[in-house]
C-alpha cells in the first residue's frame, strides 16, 4: 500500500461571532476522512490538525476513522477571527495529489458555505 503523507498550513478567516471553530475543524477533518474512504483500498492512518494561539492555547483535532467521533483537545480563544491551521493527512492507499485535492476542495467548500475564507500556504 502506498503511503504519501500530505501536510499543509492554512489560514482560515471567518466573522468571529458566527464561528464555532471546534465544530468547523471537526467537520473539515471528518469530511476529508469520509471522502478518502470512498476510494477502494484505502486505510486512514491519521488525519490531524493543530492551531496554536499566542496566549498558549491550542486546538487539536484528530480523526482516525470516519465512523468514530473526532478527538478534540484544547480550545480557541474567544472572538478569534483568524486561525492558522497545520493539517496532516496520512492515508494509506491514496496518492498525495488526490489527498491534496480532497483536502483543498473540502476546505474551499466549507469556507464558502459559511461565508468565510481559507488560504492554503505554500
Amino acid at each position: 500500500m502506498i503511503l504519501e503523507p500530505y501536510a499543509v498550513s492554512q489560514r482560515w478567516r471567518f466573522p468571529p461571532k458566527d464561528t464555532n471553530w471546534e465544530t468547523l475543524i471537526v467537520e473539515y477533518l471528518e469530511t476529508i476522512a469520509r471522502t478518502c474512504v470512498e476510494f477502494d483500498r484505502c486505510v486512514i492512518g491519521h488525519i490531524k490538525a493543530l492551531a496554536l494561539f499566542p496566549g498558549g492555547e491550542y486546538l487539536q483535532v484528530s480523526v482516525i476513522n470516519p465512523a468514530l467521533p473526532a478527538g478534540v483537545k484544547g480550545c480557541v480563544p474567544p472572538d478569534c477571527a483568524e486561525l492558522r491551521l497545520t493539517l496532516n493527512v496520512i492515508v494509506y492507499g491514496l496518492e498525495r495529489d488526490l489527498v491534496e485535492r480532497i483536502a483543498c476542495e473540502t476546505a474551499v467548500q466549507l469556507a464558502n458555505r459559511r461565508q468565510g475564507e481559507v488560504i492554503t500556504e505554500t
Binding site: M1, H46, L50, L52, I64, N65, T86
Partner: protein, 196 residues
Amino acid sequence: MLFTGFLGSGKTSFIIPLAEAVATAKRRAAIIVNEIGEIGIDNQLMRQLDLDVWELLSGCICCTMSSDLVITLQKLDAGYSPDLVIVESSGAANPSNVRSALPYYRGRPLQSVNTVSILDPLRLQMLIEVMTPLITSQIQYADLVIVNKIDLASPDEVAFACRTVQEINPEARVICTQAQQSLEPALMSELAPWLT
C-alpha cells in the same frame, strides 16, 4: 525510551504527561519526535506546552532517517544531558529497525533502552489484517504494551488486544488504560520508576 504504535494510537497523549512529570521532578526530558509528514504537528504542540523537543520530519527513523536519529542522540548527549530521552517514532516505524540503529550511537552509554508500544483496540483487528508485518513488529519488540482507549473500546476489543499481545509477545508487560492529563501511578511506575 522508544514509543511506538500505529498512527493515531495515542503515543503523544502518553508522552506529554510523562515529560511533564519528569520536568516537575526537576529532571530533564528530551523528546525526539519523528513524523513522516513535511510539517509536524506533535512537535508544535509539545513546544507550545514548553517541552524540549527535537524533530525529525519528512521520513521515518526506522529507515530513511535512522542516521538522523543517531546524530540527534549524540547532539543531545553533548549539549543537553537529559535524564530521559523519549523517542516518538512515526506510526509507520518498525521498532526493531529503530533499535538496530542505536549501536551506532557514540555518546555516553545509555543506561537502558525500553520500547513502549501503544495499541488502539478500536482498530487493531482491522490493522492486523491489512498491515500484519508492521503491527506485529510494533507488538513483538515491545517491553511494555499499553492498550489505550479502553473508555471507547468494547470489552471484546480490549480482550482481543490483550490476547493478540499474549500470542505475539508473551514476555511483554501489558497495561490497559486510557490517556489522561496525568499518568496513573501504576503506569508511571512502569514508565519512570525512578520518579516514583
